[in-house]
């Protein structure tokens, strides 16, 4: 008790102490100066440290962004949080959430027209953060629909395709998936083996190949598939469920993102009408444009998961008493929380800046790589630390943290692994590529 009082006296009086030492050094004119300073110090109100928002991110958001964030946060906490425990435990995908999110207008939020909200990228980031605070699987579903299905159709599709698909995707009436990764080609999509052959007589493309690790595919109504054409260029095609030769088996035995359904896209000579080609892009710029869009959302989202873990661990260590004191009384615990707070705060500030730059069209892909890599890596570390702080209870899904730990393993890996983004940055820093062994 005496120690605590002495400590608090030290902290409160540190300001006064420094003033006194300054005035002593200056001699007899000092007392007057000291009075002045003390009066000034008393007038400016003390700004409290807010561990929930240490660098006042809130103050940098517009009123509209705050309203969007608040409204969607309420939905996530009231409607998604109650479902996630069982959904994750039983690996059940709640298809209805797409319709619910569609009603709220949060699918494809940055798209103008076609039933979409047309809001800022910062708002998109805030939305992703709120969903991922509940579960990364739900956020993956939302990211795929918004950035990997609606975005390519909007950016690279014909007007007819946009009219046909976008409003229904925005409402969550139809579910889409994005087929780029193959069993033998993950980090090097350029080496893909899926082929598209043009048939001039029927004006169709015949597509054959296999895609894997495709979020939503078992339940998807449409698939945006990237295939190599005869000229060696990669192009995007919209495949629809029911086309002959198209099947989407589920991947079993997944221990991450269990609340979202992941599967393969198997194409055995699927005939796709040429109207389903996305004509306004060719080459890897197409899929990469979509991935960058999604990666930006993930940069925000991962920090939402990290925030949940940090807050949960804080509450747990405040409540749990061992050796007569709360766990939070211990130095090792406090150090861990200090690290979590710092990384989350700094991460969010950088995401906000990136969002603003994107809205001003002053961004480039390396910025997004940097933040996706940072947010995911740091969030995974925070989740693991938080799990540790909960001890044995930390491995029970009732406490939710272990679910985030498992999810973030996938989040750190997909959309460009931690290491691949490092290579992207390395190339930008040095001008030398280190992806391949050759020159």
């Amino acid at each position: 008790m005496a120690l605590r009082r002495a400590l608090s006296r030290l902290l409160v009086n540190s300001q006064r102490c420094s003033l006194i030492s300054v005035s002593r050094a200056q001699g007899t004119s000092a007392p007057a100066a000291y009075e002045e300073q003390a009066k000034k110090a008393a007038k400016t109100p003390k700004v409290q440290f807010n561990w929930r928002d240490a660098l006042d991110l809130e103050g940098l958001l517009t009123e509209e962004e705050i309203m969007i964030r608040d409204s969607f946060r309420t939905y996530c906490q009231e409607k998604l949080m109650p479902r996630i425990l069982m959904a994750n435990r039983n690996e059940h995908f709640h298809r209805e959430i797409l319709n619910e999110m569609g009603e709220l207008g949060v699918l494809g939020p940055t798209i103008q027209g076609y039933g979409c909200a047309g809001t800022s990228y910062v708002a998109y980031g805030l939305i992703a953060r709120e969903v991922e605070r509940v579960d990364s699987g739900y956020r993956s579903v939302m990211s795929v629909q918004s950035s990997l299905v609606m975005h390519p159709i909007n950016a690279y599709g014909t007007e007819a395709q946009k009219q046909k698909y976008l409003p229904k995707l925005a409402r969550g009436e139809i579910l889409g998936c994005f087929g780029l990764t193959e069993p033998n080609h993950g980090s090097d999509p350029g080496g893909m083996e899926t082929k598209a052959k043009y048939n001039p007589s029927s004006r169709t493309y015949t597509i054959s190949g296999a895609k894997t690790w495709i979020t939503n595919s078992p339940y998807a109504d449409i698939c945006v598939v990237w295939a190599k054409c005869e000229d060696g260029r990669v192009r995007g095609f919209v495949l629809e469920r029911g086309m002959n030769g198209l099947s989407t088996p589920k991947i079993e035995g997944k221990f991450s993102l269990r609340a979202s359904a992941t599967g393969m896209i198997l194409m055995d000579e699927v005939e796709v009408p040429e109207e389903n080609l996305l004509p306004h892009v060719s080459g890897l710029a197409g899929p990469f444009g979509c991935l960058n869009n999604a990666r930006y959302g993930i940069a925000w989202g991962a920090l939402g998961a990290a925030e949940f873990c940090f807050h949960a661990a804080r509450q747990y260590t405040l409540d749990r008493i061992q050796f007569g004191v709360p766990l939070a009384r211990n130095q090792l615990i406090q150090k861990k929380m200090a690290d979590m707070l710092t990384e989350i705060t700094i991460g969010l500030q950088s995401c906000l800046q990136l969002g603003r730059l994107i809205d001003q069209k002053k961004y480039n892909p390396e910025m997004i790589s940097m933040l996706k890599r940072n947010s995911c890596g740091k969030a995974l570390d925070i989740a693991r630390q938080a799990r540790d702080m909960l001890g044995g209870n930390g491995i029970a899904d009732e406490y939710h943290i272990i679910r985030h730990v498992l999810n973030l393993e996938a989040v750190n890996t997909y959309e460009g692994t931690h290491d691949i983004h490092a290579l992207i940055l390395g190339r930008a820093i040095t001008g030398l590529q280190s992806f391949t062994v050759g020159k």
Binding site: S71, F72, G105
Partner: protein
């Protein structure tokens, strides 16, 4: 139907916040504390917007009295579907002493000015729990007033041929009442479930107008006839005493002079 509905919305400390009394005991701490729309007012807005969607009402106007910050609350109402807002500027000392009597005078004046046919208010505010504004407003306007109480099966408010039809749950079952318009309705908890403001509506809300008005413009004097002497925390719960038998219990009660 060309009816216009006035909905009162109050900015209060968020229901989830732990309230702390100010050190000088003149009130509670509000600086830097999260505020939001009074939950009963949310239900009132939802009901008004529902009536508009059923095409029974033409325009929904959201009103709030207070300083600059209440505009956030009006914007939330606009994001839920209200058409325009009115911000009655009351600040400083006047705002601290603003109570149901002054608010109802303001609402009555506005109802006449805007030619409102229906006023929907929350039953009470979660900060003062007065449950008076609706009744006072009705009395000042000499309009009928009704509270549709909760209803597990959608208690309803409907407009039929210039009358307000209200269904409420009572002990013996459901009661259906028809009252003449114009009227005042106060919303209780189970009247409806307020919608989440959708993104497109939040963005549309930016363009909707909020008019600024001063109480003096409406001829209302906001000075209070009440003076708050002291605000205290509820007394700390004292530990109880366990007794072994009923005999002991009776003995203890007699000791305490209770029986």
């Amino acid at each position: 139907m060309s009816a216009r509905v006035l909905v009162g919305v109050k900015r209060v400390i968020d229901y989830a916040v732990k309230i702390r009394v100010k050190p000088d005991r003149t009130g509670v701490v509000t600086d830097g504390v999260k505020h939001s729309m009074n939950p009963f007012c949310e239900i009132a807005v939802e009901e008004a917007v529902k009536l508009k969607e059923k095409k029974l009402v033409k325009e929904v106007v959201a009103v709030s009295c207070g300083p600059q910050q209440v505009q956030e609350t009006i914007r939330t109402a606009l994001a839920m579907g209200a058409d325009r807002g009115i911000h009655v500027e009351v600040s400083g000392k006047d705002y601290e002493t603003l109570g149901p009597l002054q608010v109802s005078k303001i609402l009555a004046a506005l109802a006449k000015k805007e030619q409102a046919d229906l006023i929907i208010l929350g039953k009470q505010a979660i900060d003062d729990d007065c449950n008076q504004t609706g009744q006072m407003t009705a009395a000042l306007l000499d309009w009928p007033q009704r509270s549709p109480e909760d209803g597990t099966f959608a208690s309803e408010v409907n407009i039929e041929a210039d009358k307000l039809k209200v269904v409420r749950e009572i002990d013996g079952g459901l009661e259906t009442i028809k009252i003449n318009l114009p009227a005042v309705v106060t919303a209780d908890l189970r009247l409806n479930t307020p919608r989440y403001a959708t993104l497109p509506n939040i963005m549309k809300a930016k363009k909707k107008k909020i008019a600024n008005v001063k109480p003096a413009d409406l001829g209302v004097d906001v000075s209070s006839r009440l003076e708050v002497l002291k605000v205290d925390e509820p007394p700390q719960r004292q530990a109880g005493v366990k007794v072994e038998t009923v005999h002991d219990l009776v003995g203890k009660l007699k000791e305490a002079g209770r029986i």
